[in-house]
């Protein structure tokens, strides 16, 4: 497996780094969660066998696209290269990370922040939207992941 830069462009086909975790709509992607058919609570990643709400014994779930915008709860960055199974660009490029609150689902979801946006550009409460970006590529394909991106009109 080669370790090419995430920023490198290529014509390789793109595949999700985690199959079934998000839609592959490169314009307006959604994370794919699930919703309990009994109590209505949401899960990400998907829950499909039993509901974790102690007042609910639900065992059936619908796959649902989660809200693709939310507000920054907090943020940080990764100054050091994470260990495997992270596959880093060479040389390593630090990246920002945001925890984003989804209003409808009332949950906070982590993700890297899009390349080029540093912690200095982030604030709690900022509106973010979900985008897809290459996490790494191997010989066959570009592996896409979800990332958070500040909404343009701020």
């Amino acid at each position: 497996m080669s370790k090419e830069s995430a920023a490198a462009t290529s014509n390789k086909p793109s595949v999700a780094v985690l199959d079934g975790w998000f839609t592959m709509d490169e314009d307006k992607p959604h994370l794919l969660g699930s919703q309990c058919n009994s109590c209505g609570t949401y899960y990400f990643p998907k829950q499909s066998n039993y509901c974790k709400n102690p007042s609910c014994d639900g065992e059936s779930f619908n796959e649902v696209p989660l809200s693709r915008t939310g507000k920054v709860w907090s943020f940080t960055n990764a100054c050091y290269q994470p260990p495997e199974p992270y596959i880093a660009a060479d040389p390593y490029q630090p990246y920002a990370i945001a925890a984003v609150e989804l209003e409808k689902e009332k949950m906070v979801v982590l993700g890297q922040v899009i390349t080029g946006v540093d912690v200095d550009a982030l604030r709690a409460g900022m509106q973010m939207e979900l985008v897809l970006e290459t996490l790494f590529e191997d010989d066959e394909s570009r592996k896409l992941t979800w990332k958070w991106k500040p909404l343009a009109s701020q």
Binding site: Y42, P54, S55, S74, Y80
Partner: protein, 393 residues
């Protein structure tokens, strides 16, 4: 109170990177605790070990491993695993045994040898393992502590200088502690000059992993009186509650919180001491000293608020005013905390209780909190494990 037990002895093996078998640390701590208690090893009826997951089968059956190392003498054994709360869970098992009348004296031991460097997940493609997934996506352990720290800065106006003050204060406390690993009086400039790991946290804001061992000899209050130790420090409460759904704070190794769409969000950290206060019949205002799990400098501030030792958002003010130093109104981590020890998982919760035992006896030397009568510990680990222990004199 009828559910109290007495702490007759406390002992520790100094924290460090000694590279020895964990059993050696546990035996040293146990022998020191027995000597401190003035109890013969043959009089111990129950050995309660805190498991280590990094040292193979002997670590999984730590209670038996320590009992065998000390010399089989027929005592019953038990081993507890509850991540960072393993030591408290082992103490709770000893308390249950004593309060049920099944034994008079128990020995509680936790010890660990830690590997060097990053704790990385197992190899291979394992998308069903949350730990594998988060590392694949670039979310490491410091990420979570940095998110909590940055949240404080954004909501309460805390600064990186405030976090550095916590490190400077803990370094001062640990300087005279013979069991601490790092004994150096770091300055705010030292902290600021250390490398950024996960903004806003620098290397010196984050605790290391260490080798170490801690042990307690505990007994029924009746036994303590019988051997002339009726004035021993008492365990007044042990809380090892699990979280309540829906957890509103992002927790390692998760990529998302629970959804609070149909159930109100809950704080696990705040729930841990709440149960302990209720059990001990003690109010937060009664606390003289606290040992809290400062995995990061900023997390010490979160704990102060979760322990209700101040209002939400006010912890940094107490630190700035010097009130959390030994000599201040409410000393936090007089031992030096994880900042000076580094984490030795199965020993850490017990080391907190050892420190409070010495504090409440007035035997803590240069780091003594004058007149301390009530102390509380707090820690939280993975998978819904955490604990809070209250000691009284």
């Amino acid at each position: 109170m009828s559910n109290e037990i007495a702490i007759l002895g406390a002992g520790m093996h100094p924290w460090g990177k000694w590279g020895k078998n964990f059993t050696e640390y546990g035996v040293k701590a146990a022998r020191d605790a027995l000597a401190d208690a003035g109890v013969d090893w043959r009089d111990v009826g129950f050995v309660s070990g805190a498991a280590t997951m990094r040292c193979g089968y002997p670590g999984y059956v730590a209670g038996a491993t320590f009992a065998q190392a000390l010399g089989w003498q027929g005592a019953e054994v038990n081993t507890s695993y509850a991540a960072c709360a393993s030591g408290s869970q082992a103490l709770a098992a000893a308390r249950a045994k004593i309060l049920s009348g099944a034994c008079d004296v128990a020995l509680v031991v936790g010890a660990d040898t830690t590997p060097k460097g990053f704790l990385a997940p197992q190899k291979g493609e394992r998308p069903d393992d949350p730990d594998w997934v988060r590392f694949r996506l670039g979310i490491t352990n410091p990420t979570y502590f940095a998110l909590y720290a940055r949240r404080r800065m954004e909501i309460y106006g805390d600064t990186q200088d405030d976090f550095a003050l916590v490190k400077v204060k803990n370094a001062e406390h640990g300087f005279s502690n013979p069991n601490a690993r790092y004994k150096k009086k770091f300055s705010a400039e030292d902290v600021a000059a250390s490398a950024m790991v996960a903004d806003p946290l620098r290397l010196m804001d984050i605790c290391a992993t260490s080798d170490g061992g801690a042990a307690l000899v505990v007994s029924s209050v009746g036994y303590a009186k019988k051997i002339g130790r009726g004035d021993a420090v008492k365990v007044a409460a042990i809380s090892t509650v699990t979280p309540s759904y829906a957890s509103g704070i992002i927790e390692m190794p998760d990529l998302a919180t629970d959804s609070a769409a149909v159930v109100e969000a809950q704080s696990f950290r705040a729930a841990l001491p709440k149960k302990a206060y209720e059990e001990a019949g003690v109010a937060p205002g009664d606390v003289d000293v606290a040992e809290v799990y400062d995995l990061s400098t900023a997390l010490e501030l979160d704990w102060m608020e979760d322990l209700q030792l101040c209002e939400r958002g006010e912890a940094a003010q107490l630190v700035r005013a010097g009130q959390t130093r030994v000599g201040g109104r409410l000393p936090i981590n007089p031992s030096g905390g994880l900042a000076c020890f580094g984490e030795a998982v199965p020993a850490q919760a017990l080391s907190q209780v050892c420190e409070l035992t010495w504090q409440l006896r007035g035997e803590a030397g240069a780091r003594q909190v004058e007149g301390a009568k009530v102390g509380i510990t707090a820690n939280q680990g993975l998978f819904g494990h955490g604990s809070s222990v209250i000691l009284k004199r």
